[in-house]
């Protein structure tokens, strides 16, 4: 295949007789030798000055679409300059190919042009409209969810207990190890940095207040919500999205089953039950991490840690963290479901919506936490 490429290189032999120029095309006029083919073709065009050009294909060994295209293009360009140009001695196969490629100019498709500033404004407008639509969709979906919940309460037989238990296992039970691990580590890190700062004021024991309040009010909940949004929210979008893609949701609907009741109520209930449980576990893990670090770095022994902790935190510190959890669960669940239901036919669309589900859920969890912080500060709880 590769051997003796030199012998097969394209060549052109130009002969003049009277007012005719004969260009004898020799060798392989194929895509492998594209550069040579193009330069020889240009040479023919240049040599041809005002004569009748004949392309003699009698000695061509191979001709492919590229060779035929370039030859026909040259012939066409000569024709445009008012010169006659013809092919001679083409084999039937070569003639078919030449006819098939038949040179014509390809016009560039006109592209719509916009100014950059205009594009930017359009993007901003679109994303604002998108955010507004997300909010409206979210509220509408919350309404649907509540009405489905009421139907389930009125007809308890329609409640899917097995699905709920299964989802609780997936969402809560299976994420315990990872949540315990990251909470413990974050507890350690916060305690360590706290000690480094507080030791300058000789106030090392206050690290217990720092950890206790920070973990119980904010950190445990945020860590858990973000973890659950990444782990369960994405799984949730992917499951519902792939069911949507394969028309399984439509199949449920035509069987007279309500997809919200069957698929979504158990998942969101499992989130609402599971997230507070996980938040509690996360709090304990983070406090333990803080305790261990305080002991190692700040010489705060465990019994001192525990007694200071009892003074530092009150019941409401603990409850503030815990009572936010179901709201976070609801936000994560609603975003994940809406993104899942928005999936269209393709796998790319599924991937896009899973990503956007996680990003939106984490964003909303943090925004909501900020609103809660302002609210609890306002009511001095």
């Amino acid at each position: 295949m590769a051997q003796s490429t030199l012998a097969q290189e394209p060549q052109v032999k130009i002969e003049r007789s009277g007012d005719k120029v004969t260009a004898r095309i020799v060798g392989h006029w194929t895509a492998e030798h594209a550069e040579l083919v193009e330069s020889f073709a240009a040479e023919i065009g240049a040599e041809a000055d005002q004569h009748h050009v004949i392309f003699d294909l009698g000695e061509v060994q191979r001709l492919d679409t590229l060779g035929a295209w370039v030859l026909d293009r040259t012939r066409h360009e000569l024709g445009e300059r008012g010169q006659a140009a013809d092919f001679a001695n083409a084999s039937p196969e070569q003639q078919i190919l030449l006819d098939e490629v038949a040179y014509r100019g390809f016009q560039e498709q006109p592209k719509a042009r916009h100014s950059k500033a205009m594009d930017f404004l359009v993007d901003v407008g679109k994303s604002m409209a998108g955010a507004g639509k997300d909010l409206v969709d979210g509220v509408a979906f919350l309404g649907e969810l509540v009405s489905a919940l009421i139907r389930v309460v009125v007809h308890p037989r329609r409640f899917r207990g097995t699905a709920l238990v299964n989802q609780l296992e997936q969402i809560a039970y299976r994420s315990v190890p990872i949540i315990v691990l990251i909470s413990f580590l974050v507890g350690c890190i916060v305690a360590q940095q706290g000690i480094f700062q507080l030791v300058r004021f000789g106030a090392t024991p206050f690290v217990v207040d720092l950890i206790g309040i920070l973990v119980l009010r904010e950190l445990a909940l945020l860590l858990t919500s973000i973890m659950v949004a990444g782990r369960s929210g994405s799984a949730f979008t992917a499951e519902i999205g792939s069911m949507k893609m394969r028309e399984e949701i439509d199949a449920l609907r035509v069987m007279g089953l309500d997809p919200i009741e069957v698929l979504i109520v158990p998942r969101i209930l499992a989130l609402v039950i599971g997230l507070p449980l996980l938040t509690f576990i996360s709090s304990i893990a983070a406090l333990s991490g803080g305790g261990v670090t305080a002991w190692l770095y700040g010489d705060v022994s465990p019994d001192v840690f525990l007694s200071r902790l009892r003074e530092a935190v009150s019941m409401n510190t603990f409850l503030v963290g815990l009572m936010k959890a179901p709201f976070m669960a609801l936000v994560i669940g609603i975003i994940a479901t809406l993104e899942g239901l928005a999936v269209e036919g393709s796998a790319e669309s599924l991937g896009r919506h899973v990503t956007s589900s996680v990003v939106k859920a984490i964003f909303m969890v943090i925004v909501l936490d900020g609103l809660f912080a302002m609210f609890f500060a306002a009511i001095r709880y």
Partner: protein, 266 residues
């Protein structure tokens, strides 16, 4: 169109794909068991077989996507097992593949898809790159405005055509088509068959076509090979297969749908 049914099969014609004693299996399941097959230069070979019998497996084995346990495969006179990686790359330039779902790169436009193999293997000027891509796109019957579309914006038939344009990008000697007309409506499928026959004549292609479409078998295939029980059950022009007394072939070619295809063809 020339009558393809009565082309004489010349046993001296050049064999471009020679499969001998190929055995392929997954785990303890043997799919192909000592399969022999010849594909001659310039023919359109239709490859049929019941679902799950390994039609796609054979195609993928020839292409080197599935490892084989035994046997030899020669393509264009070269044993695939003896090739060095660089020889293999040279060989791969000489075949084009149309995958069942098109397998167009979703991030690229149709034109860029066609240009991928050209950019990779050929040294073309920008002008020629654009012109050749547009030429291939027109050759497969797509409108020029399809060139700047993304695969997600195309219909099923357009995806098949665009994928065929990509398969033809390097002027291959052999084209593998995996169920080219599946998922197309009968009119679209008929047009696609016509297109394959036309391109086969103009470009002198050898076409290896896995298909279930009886109309394709009747209208464009020079020869048909039927796969069953890991071997070739029968091969030859359609008359040979019609005359076969293998039960699967009988029900395949003499069922209601087959009779309808035969009636519409004659």
């Amino acid at each position: 169109m020339l009558d393809r049914h009565h082309l004489p099969i010349d046993r001296n014609r050049e064999v471009v794909i020679r499969v001998r004693g190929v055995e392929v299996g997954f785990g303890d399941r043997t799919i192909l068991n000592g399969l022999d097959l010849d594909v001659y230069r310039g023919e359109i070979l239709g490859f049929v077989g019941a679902s799950g019998q390994g039609k796609s497996v054979l195609t993928r084995t020839i292409l080197g996507l599935v490892p084989k346990r035994a046997g030899t495969i020669e393509v264009l006179g070269r044993n695939l097992d003896d090739l060095s990686p660089s020889e293999r790359r040279l060989l791969e330039r000489r075949w084009g593949v149309l995958f069942q779902q098109g397998a167009l790169f979703s991030a690229l436009t149709v034109k860029q898809n066609v240009q991928v193999p050209m950019r990779e293997y050929l040294n073309l000027s920008d002008r020629l790159l654009d012109e050749l891509a547009m030429l291939k796109i027109e050759m497969v019957g797509l409108k020029p405005d399809a060139a700047d579309k993304l695969p997600s914006e195309l219909s099923g038939g357009m995806i098949k055509r665009a994928a065929l344009a990509r398969a033809l990008a390097l002027d291959p000697d052999i084209v593998f088509l995996d169920e080219p007309t599946s998922g197309l409506d009968p009119i679209g499928a008929g047009e696609f068959d016509e297109l394959i026959a036309t391109l086969q004549r103009t470009l002198g292609l050898t076409v290896f076509m896995v298909t279930h479409d009886l109309d394709s078998l009747y209208t464009v295939c020079d020869r048909i090979a039927a796969l069953g029980e890991g071997k070739i059950l029968a091969e030859g022009p359609i008359e040979t297969l019609l005359a076969s007394d293998n039960p699967w072939l009988r029900s395949y070619f003499h069922g209601k749908r087959a009779r309808a295809a035969m009636a519409s063809d004659s």
